[in-house]
Symmetry: C2
Subunit: 593 residues, 2 copies
C-alpha cells in the first residue's frame, strides 16, 4: 500500500510559471532539449516514484535490515529497484552523455529527488550517494578510474558511498586518522569509518567507497587529506568483480528512523589487504569532496522538503475524510469533516505555505546552480556561483528543520491516529529527523553561512543575494494587492543585511558572541527567502487571477499573505536578538547548567 | 543501564525558595506535616524513580508488549514495579488517609510524577491512571463502590483506566455510542472504546475501567452521558476476584513510542455479559470525568516537562564528555569538549531555561491547585480555583509542545549519535510526541483557554491570572538588575490582555476567525508565564547573589535575562498576528490546499 502523495500542479507552477525552466534549454549544453522533454521527465519521475519507490517505504520499515556475518541484507524489492533506477536513467539523469548520463539539466536531479525522497527516503539515499560518488570520480579521477567505475555506477550495476566520519572525526574532519600508504600505482588504506550511509548492502555486486584519508607522512589537519576510490571488491582487468578488498562492515546502527538505510561502520585494511586509488590531487581531498558534500547538503534540504510535502498531503487527505465535531459557525448541520475546523485549517495553510515556499526556494537554488555550471565564464556565471554557495547552507539547515516541523504538524492534524503506525506520518517524522544532523549539523551550517559565506570573495555571495531579493522588491513594490507585503519584506531585508554586517565585524572582535547567534541569523535568512519566493509566486498568480477565477491561483496569494504577515514580525524579533549585547550564552558557568 | 537524570537542586529551589511549599503545612489538612517531611518525600521519590522505574524504560522499549489471545503481556519487571509503587504509597501519596492514602499535599502527586514520568513515561501512566480512576470513585461513588475498589487500587493490587474515546467519538465525546441498560442495581454495558491507555495488561489481578456511556433512552449529546465503574473481572462479595466481566481487548496500537504502554481497543458486553455500576449522578458523567481529565491534562504537561528535563540533562552530560573541534576563540589548545562551542551552549541555555520555566509553571499551578482544594470556602479559595482552571489548558498544551521541542534540541546536541538508539534521547522524543495529541489535542486546549476559560464566571479566571502576574511586575518593577525585563513583561501582558479581550468579542461576532488564532494566543500565554516564572526565580537568585558568589544562582539570572530578551519580542509578534484582519485561513477554498 502506497502513501506517497505529490501535488504536481504545485511542482509545475514553480518550474514553468515561476522559474520558466525551459529557459535552460537556451544553454549550450541543453541545446537539443526543449521544455516539453523536461515536462515529460517530471511526469515520468513522479510515475517511477509512485510505482517503484513508494511501495518500498513501508516494506523497508517493517522488514528492516538484517546484519549477519558482516553483511547487510536489504528488504525485498530494494535490489530490483536499485537496478531499475540506474537502468531507467534516473541515477545519471543530469550527467553528461559521455559516461552514460542522460544529459538533462543539473537541476532535474533535484526535481527528481523531490519525488524519489518523498516516496522512499531510505532507498533513495542509495542511488543518490552512488550518483555523487560516481560524479566525483568523473570530475577528479583518471581516465582509467572513470572507465572502470563510472558507467557501472550510473547504470545501477555498482553502488557508491561517501566515507568521511570517523569515531573521533565527525564535525571536525581535520582530526581524521585513516591513512593511505603508497604502494606502486595505488595505496594501502587503513582505518575505520563510521556513520557510512549505505556503506554495506546487497543491492549491487560492488560498492565503491569514496574515502577521505591522509597519505602517510602528509601534514596534519585538513591540508593533508586526500581522496581515494576504495572498492569493496577489487576489479579485474576486464572490469569484472574480483577478490574482496578487505573492507569489512563491523556493524550497523540502530536508529530512530531510516530503518531500511544501513548506517555502517567500516573497517578498511584490518588484514592489510585494502587497496585504494588516489582520486584527484594529493592533499586536495577535502576540496574535491566538497563537490559531493555540497550536493548532499542540498539533497538533505530536498529530503526535508519532500517528506514535509507528502506528510502535508497525507494530513490533507485525512482531514477531508475524518468526520468529527460540529461546525463552529453552524454553517452545516450535524458532524462535519475536520477540514472545516479553523484550527485544522490554520495548520493546513501553514503547512501548504511552508512546503510550497521550501520547494520554490530549493528549485530556485537548483536553477541558479545550473546557470553557475553552464553559463560561459564571466560575470553572470560568477553571480550564480555566488548565489549557489550562499544558498547551500540555508537550504540544508532551514529545510531540514522546517521539514521536521511540518511532519510534526501533519501528525497533529490526525490527532491520536497520527501517533499510530497505521498512518505513514510517524515514519516520515522519524525519517526526517536525521536531516538536521547529518551532512554537517545545522549549527555547523549556520557558521558556514554567517562566517565563510559572508566573507569569501569580499562578500560577493551576500551581495549577489541582495541584488536578487532587492531586485524583486523594487520591481513589485507598487503592486496593487501585494505591494505592502513586498515593502515590508524589503524593510526586513535591509535590517537583515545590517545585522549581517554587524555580525561580520563581531566575528573578528568577539567570535564567541558571534557564534552564539549564527543559528538564529540563518533562520532569519531562511524566513526572508521563504517570504520572497511565496510573494514571487503570488505576484504571478495575481496576474492570472485578473483573467480568471481559480482556487489554485487564489491559494498562492493566500498562502503568501498569511505567511508573510505571520512570519516577518518574528524575523525582526529574531534579528533584534542577534544584536543584543547580553553574553549569557558564553558567560554562564559550566556548573550552572 | 539507567538514563534518567534529574537536577534536584533545581527542583528544591522551586519548591523551597520560589514557592516556599512548606506554607502548605499551615492548611488544616496538612497540620501534622512539616517541610522536612515533604523534603524527605521528594528525596525518596527521586530514589524510587531512579532505582525502580528508570531500569524499566529501556527494557520496556526493547522487549515491548506481547498481544496474544486478547491479553497483553508486559515487559519483565513491570508487574513487580506496579505492586511496589502502590505498596510504597506513591499511587495514593496525595489522597486522604481514609481509603489508604498518605495524606500529602495534592501538589506532591505532581512533584512525584515529575520524576516518575521522567524515569519511565510508559510505566508511570499505569499507576497514574489507577490513581485518577480510584480518586474518581472516591469522589463520586457509593460507599460500597469505594470500599470494594479504592483501597485495592491505591495499594497496587488492582489497576484502573479512563475510557472515553470511541471510533467515532474522539475530540467530540457528544457522539459516543456506548450504552448502559438498567438491570437491577447495576447496568449492562455495551460498546467499544479505543485508545485506552493501559486498557489491558498483566500488572494486576483486576482492571477497573471508568467508562463514559449513555443510559438507554437518555438524551443525545453530552447531557446524556453517565459514568460507570466497569471491572475487567467481577468482584465477589468477599472482595476477591470472580468471573470475567465480558470486557475484551480486541487489539493494541502499534505506535511511534510508548512501546511499553498498551493502547487498547476494548469491547464491552459483546456477549451481553458486561456489568457496570453507576458512579455519581446519572447524566453527569462528563462533569464527573472532568476531575480525572483535568488531572490527566496537567499530568500531560508534567510528562512533557519531565522528558524534556532528562533529555536536557542527558545532552548536557554528552557535551561535557564529547571532544570535537577546536575552541573558536583559541582559549584552549587542541581539541575541546563541545560544551565550549557557542552554538552548543546556546542550545543548552535554551533548554535549561525552558525546562526550569516549565517546571516552575507546573509546580506553581499545582501549588495553587492545593490552595483551591484546601483553603476554607471563600474569596481566596475562589481566586485559586480560577487560577487552576486557567492554567490547566496552558500547562497541557504549552508544556507538551515545548517538551517535544526540548527533546529535539537535546538530540541536536549529540549530532548523529543523537539519532542512534545507543542514546536515550530518540526514545524520549518518540515518547514525548503523544503529549500534544492525547487528553484533548493542543488545538482543543486552545479553544478551551480562549473560549470557556475566558468567559466562565464573568472572566474571573483571566482576572485572577492578571492579578497574580501584575502583582509580580508591580512588586519588582524597580529591581536594579531585572527591572527593565520586568517592565517589558508588564507591557507584553497588557497587550496580551487587550488581544484576549478583542478575541472574546470576536468569538461572538466571527467565531471562525477567532478559532483560527486561539492556538497562537495560547502560545503567547505560555510565553509570558515562562517569562514571569523565570524572572521570579531570578529575583530570588539575585538577592542571594548579593551575599555570595554562586554558579547555581547566577544561572537562574542568566537563563531569565536570555529567555526574556529572546522571547518577548516573539510573543508580541504572535499577538499582532492574532489581531490581523486577514481571513486566509477561512477564505482559502478547500480545493486550493
Amino acid at each position: 500500500m502506497g502513501h506517497f502523495k505529490i501535488n504536481s500542479k504545485d511542482v509545475m507552477f514553480i518550474l514553468k510559471e515561476q522559474l520558466q525552466y525551459g529557459r535552460l534549454c537556451k544553454l549550450d549544453r541543453y541545446s537539443d532539449q526543449n521544455e516539453k522533454v523536461l515536462d515529460l521527465l517530471v511526469k515520468e519521475a513522479i510515475e517511477f516514484a509512485k510505482g517503484v519507490l513508494d511501495p518500498l517505504n513501508e516494506v523497508g520499515e517493517t522488514e528492516g535490515l538484517k546484519f549477519e556475518n558482516n553483511q547487510v541484507k536489504c528488504p525485498p524489492g530494494f535490489k530490483e529497484a536499485f537496478k531499475k533506477y540506474g537502468e531507467d536513467g534516473w541515477t545519471a539523469a543530469a550527467r553528461d552523455l559521455e559516461h552514460g548520463g542522460q544529459g538533462f539539466p543539473h537541476m532535474m536531479r533535484i526535481v527528481i529527488n523531490d519525488f524519489m525522497y518523498g516516496a522512499c527516503q531510505s532507498f533513495n539515499m542509495a542511488p543518490s550517494l552512488t550518483h555523487g560518488a560516481a560524479h566525483l570520480i568523473e570530475s577528479f579521477g583518471t581516465k582509467a578510474l572513470i572507465d572502470t567505475y563510472v558507467p557501472k555506477m550510473f547504470d545501477g550495476t555498482w553502488a557508491g558511498t561517501m566515507c568521511l566520519t570517523e569515531p573521533n572525526a565527525g564535525s571536525n574532519l581535520a582530526a581524521l586518522e585513516t591513512t593511505a600508504y603508497p604502494e606502486g600505482d595505488h595505496y594501502k588504506i587503513k582505518g575505520t569509518k563510521i556513520f557510512i550511509s549505505w556503506g554495506e548492502h546487497d543491492l549491487a555486486d560492488n560498492i565503491v567507497h569514496l574515502v577521505l584519508a591522509r597519505i602517510d607522512g602528509e601534514p596534519e589537519g585538513v591540508r593533508g587529506i586526500s581522496l581515494f576510490v576504495v572498492p569493496k571488491m577489487r576489479v579485474n582487468a576486464d572490469g569484472s568483480v574480483g577478490e574482496p578488498n578487505d573492507v569489512v562492515c563491523t556493524g550497523i546502527e540502530e536508529k530512530l528512523g531510516l530503518h531500511a538505510s544501513p548506517t555502517a561502520a567500516l573497517s578498511f585494511g584490518a588484514k592489510d589487504g585494502c587497496i585504494g586509488y588516489l582520486c584527484g590531487e594529493k592533499n586536495k581531498g577535502l576540496a574535491h569532496m566538497f563537490q559531493m558534500m555540497n550536493a548532499a547538503r542540498i539533497n538533505t534540504g530536498v529530503s526535508g522538503m519532500a517528506m514535509a510535502s507528502t506528510a502535508y498531503l497525507n494530513a490533507l487527505a485525512y482531514v477531508k475524510d475524518r468526520i468529527q465535531g460540529r461546525d463552529i459557525a453552524g454553517r452545516q448541520k450535524g458532524e462535519v469533516a475536520i477540514i472545516h475546523h479553523p484550527d485544522v485549517r490554520r495548520m493546513l495553510l501553514w503547512m501548504k505555505a511552508n512546503v510550497d515556499g521550501m520547494r520554490s526556494m530549493i528549485y530556485t537554488g537548483a536553477f541558479w546552480s545550473d546557470l553557475a555550471l553552464e553559463l560561459p565564464e564571466g560575470e553572470e556565471r560568477g553571480h550564480y556561483e555566488n548565489l549557489t554557495d550562499f544558498m547551500t547552507p540555508i537550504i540544508k539547515a532551514y529545510c531540514s528543520d522546517l521539514g521536521f516541523r511540518v511532519c510534526e504538524i501533519a501528525m497533529q492534524c490526525l490527532g491520536g491516529y497520527g501517533y499510530c503506525r497505521d498512518y505513514p506520518i510517524e515514519q516520515y517524522l522519524r525519517d526526517a529527523k536525521i536531516m538536521s544532523l547529518y551532512e554537517g549539523t545545522n549549527g555547523i551550517q549556520s557558521t558556514d553561512l554567517m562566517g565563510r559565506k559572508m566573507t569569501i570573495r569580499d562578500g560577493a555571495c551576500v551581495k549577489a543575494f541582495q541584488k536578487e531579493i532587492e531586485g524583486f522588491c523594487e520591481a513589485h513594490r507598487e503592486h496593487p494587492e501585494l505591494g505592502d507585503r513586498i515593502r515590508a519584506l524589503y524593510g526586513v531585508v535591509q535590517r537583515l543585511l545590517e545585522v549581517s554586517e554587524d555580525m561580520k565585524q563581531r566575528q573578528k572582535s568577539d567570535p564567541l558572541q558571534w557564534a552564539s547567534y549564527t543559528y538564529p541569523a540563518l533562520l532569519a535568512y531562511g524566513e526572508v527567502i521563504m517570504c520572497w519566493r511565496l510573494l514571487d509566486m503570488a505576484v504571478i498568480a495575481a496576474e492570472t487571477l485578473k483573467k480568471k477565477k481559480s482556487d489554485f491561483y487564489q491559494g498562492k496569494v493566500f498562502q503568501a499573505t498569511y505567511y508573510v504577515d505571520t512570519t516577518l514580525p518574528h524575523t525582526l524579533a529574531t534579528l533584534e536578538s542577534c544584536l543584543r549585547p547580553g553574553r549569557e550564552v558564553m558567560d554562564i558557568p559550566d556548573g550552572a547548567f
